[in-house]
Amino acid sequence: MTTTSQRPVFLNLLKIKLPIAGFMSIVHRATGMFMFLALPILIYLLDQSLSGPAGFEAAHETLHGFFGVVFVFLIMWSLAHHLLAGIRYLLIDVDMGVEKEIAGKTALWVVVAGPILGLLLTGGVL
């Protein structure tokens, strides 16, 4: 125990070199929290769009405004990253892609694919 207490503590988040899988994991958490915080907006839009033809048009207009487009992009990016990272975790659960080299590669793919899919899906659904 004495050796443990004498270890230097270095927690400068800006200087720690985080492996790509660690970065992907933090983004997995952040995107999950973001989608949780966005739930009231999503349910509000669902409720409004189902309230009648006027509500449908209003929700449609909101989603095609500047903030609407940014919001849809952030949701699509979050969804893509969270889903891909989640599939990666499920595969690791069944012992697929556990090796350090492969795990690093798949983490990088997830991080890169997230914003690309986010852009493509935003363009596609709006």
Binding site: R29, G32, M33, M35, F36, L39, P40, I43, L46, D47, S49, L50, S51, G52, P53, G55, F56, E57, L79, L83, G86, I87, L90, D93, L121, G124, V125
Partner: protein
Amino acid sequence: MSRKASGLKAWAIQRLTAIYVGLFSLYLVLALLFSAPADYVAWKAWIGSPLVSVAMLLFIASVLMHAWIGVRDVLIDYLHPIAIRATVLGLVALSLVAMGLWAAQALILVRLV
């Protein structure tokens, strides 16, 4: 809820709900990409059809359970004073139930009118 969703059970629920939420999200995105409802009548007909309606309700329940376990894990990592942790967790739980009822109400009402 916290007792029922602790440990291994939470781990299993998180994965079960993840699979359903993932598959249904894929269906939703594909539907919006390739056959987006053009107006209110089409939107209502699609989301109000019996199968989609039940699948949506199950989706919402799954999202809320998944969110509860995920948000709980994150909050337990970052909120240490027990009073603050309990208060925030309680507010999260209440807001999740409220949002679930709100969404369910919208989905059920649209089938009645």
